[in-house]
């Protein structure tokens, strides 16, 4: 089986400082990978390198494209990479405001990716937007409201709808539950888990919240100082941490 995404020796430096160093892993179709670590451990740098927002200094990110099979996205041309970014890839930002157009209605936000890949029938676009709002549990009557009138949790769900409308195969998520209160977090996680299973999505989730990866991720990678210190099945890593830092991380979670 060909991996959907094969990350090979990704390294990113900020001058003398290391962003992330020599990270390699394979992600198979339908798999959800969690990346955890403390602030500054290089999780977000790694995610941005994989999603093409940052150019890594070394390494390859090989994606199994629909048309041409495995291609290195680091060396492919920018138009091709941006095309991937709005068809087969999706990126969910930590702050919904970074991923939404706040001045455009909810329907327009969801429809943007459709129009970006050539949809030119208003009725169809709107129908799909309404359908997706319902799938992420937003009242269809709010299709013409701007995201500024939405709560934080709704904005995050709208961002997810906007990303999934073109049926991507790989979703990058950067702290998707950050900044939300616990009950809203729980609903969002529930929704994400359902969507990932229903659509057979592969996902890479960066978070510092171990509960999120416990619920969503099949596999887990623990990062510290830009390097991967431990990786394995989620339950295995969390229940039987081997590396000193992972042990510290697992034991720092507050028990209620």
């Amino acid at each position: 089986m060909t991996p959907l995404l094969s990350v090979q020796g990704i390294t990113k430096r900020y001058g003398a400082h290391i962003g992330c160093a020599d990270v390699s892993f394979d992600l198979y179709p339908g798999e959800v990978m969690g990346i955890v670590g403390e602030s500054g451990s290089g999780k977000s740098t790694l995610l941005n390198c994989m999603a093409g927002h940052l150019r890594p200094d070394a390494g390859a990110v090989v994606f199994d494209t629909r048309a041409e099979g495995p291609r290195d996205t680091v060396t492919m041309s920018e138009p091709e990479r941006r095309m991937l970014g709005r068809t087969d890839w999706a990126f969910v930002h930590q702050h919904a405001r970074d991923g939404l157009r706040m001045g455009v209605s909810a329907g327009g936000n969801v429809g943007e990716r459709l129009m970006a890949v050539g949809a030119r029938h208003y009725g169809d676009i709107r129908g799909k937007a309404v359908d997706w709002l319902e799938r992420v549990e937003i009242d269809a009557a709010r299709v013409d409201d701007r995201p500024t009138t939405f709560s934080g949790g709704m904005q995050q769900r709208l961002q997810i709808a906007r990303n999934l409308v073109t049926g991507p195969r790989l979703v990058f998520m950067d702290e998707p539950t950050g900044g939300l209160d616990v009950s809203v977090q729980a609903r969002l996680l529930d929704l994400l888990r359902g969507l990932v299973r229903d659509m057979g999505l592969s996902a890479i989730i960066v978070t510092h919240d171990l509960a999120v990866v416990r619920l969503l991720a099949d596999r887990l990678m623990v990062m510290k100082n830009g390097r991967v210190v431990e990786q394995g099945l989620t339950d295995q890593v969390l229940d039987d941490p081997q590396h000193g830092y992972t042990q510290l991380l697992v034991s720092s979670v507050l028990q209620v």
Partner: protein, 286 residues
């Protein structure tokens, strides 16, 4: 009128005109592409047509016959002052007749009378970037143009329909040029959009404050953007002209008293006067 001796021909120095002509030629070579140019300070405020004036100055020759219109009219402040500016600094002949003019500088209209080969239409452009109100970053809009990522333009039209039930953008209606660049046609009413395409005259667009020039060579394909189920419509007020009775021209609504009295008149004064001279009369004609 003769040219005032204190000025170089058409106000600008020859090096500046050369620089602007280079930008114009590049714009003509890549229809719809916004060419940056080193816009000069002009003796008028930004927003009054500094871009159009610089383009006109660069294309004028002593043999040209110059016409200026503002919202279609030859006799409004902007038109009168720009016309007298070039009478004084270039000494060129001026006219109000569309057919007689070789260079026409315009603000917000395309003349009703069909343009011909050998004519140049110069537009004054306030904001040349059609994507500006959706994407404020210039670096990003340039990338979108270069990679032909124009989905965002349809988001604007989508918003129009979702809010008003139809495409409510009635001026500065975005167009696609030769299947490549999306272009802002300057704030002309969308009634004029069909005249942009396949036009025998050269069309030049100058934005002074934003320092951009773009162009449509003669007989260029220009398509107004739309949705399959909400096609583009060139709209105008549903009345005949009150003075000349024309039913095919773009109309201004003029309030005539405090009792709600109003009349609709051609915004193109030259077209209206020519029709009246030929004996056409509307219902409000004296």
């Amino acid at each position: 009128m003769t040219q005032s001796p204190e000025y170089n021909f058409a106000y600008l120095d020859e090096q500046t005109k050369r620089m602007i002509r280079r930008a114009i030629l590049k714009g003509l070579a890549i229809p719809g592409y916004q060419v940056p140019f080193a816009s000069r300070e002009m003796p008028m405020p930004y927003g009054w047509g500094t871009g159009g004036v610089q383009v006109s100055a660069a294309v004028l020759t002593p043999d040209d016959r110059f016409k200026v219109i503002d919202q279609g009219a030859d006799d409004t402040t902007n038109a009168v002052s720009i016309r007298s500016f070039f009478e004084r600094t270039a000494g060129v002949a001026t006219t109000t007749k569309t057919q007689d003019a070789t260079v026409i500088q315009t603000r917000h209209r395309i003349p009703e009378a069909p343009l011909g080969e050998g004519q140049i239409l110069v537009y004054q452009v306030p904001i040349p970037e059609p994507l500006r109100f959706l994407e404020p970053r210039e670096s990003e809009t340039r990338k979108m143009h270069s990679l032909e990522e124009y989905g965002l333009m349809h988001v604007k039209l989508y918003e129009d329909i979702s809010r008003h039930g139809h495409i409510a953008t009635s001026y500065a209606y975005p167009v696609k040029v030769e299947g490549r660049y999306v272009m802002d046609p300057s704030p002309i009413p969308k009634f004029d959009n069909p005249k942009l395409g396949d036009c025998p005259a050269i069309q030049l667009f100058g934005a002074g404050r934003e320092q951009r020039i773009y162009a449509l060579p003669p007989y260029t394909q220009v398509v107004s953007l739309d949705f399959e189920d909400h096609p583009f419509e060139a709209s105008k007020a549903d009345h005949p002209c009150g003075l000349c009775g024309a039913e095919d021209s773009y109309l201004d609504e003029v309030i005539t008293d405090d009792q709600g009295g109003r009349m609709f008149v051609c915004s193109d004064t030259d077209y209206c006067e020519a029709r009246q001279a030929a004996g056409h009369r509307g219902k409000d004609a004296a």
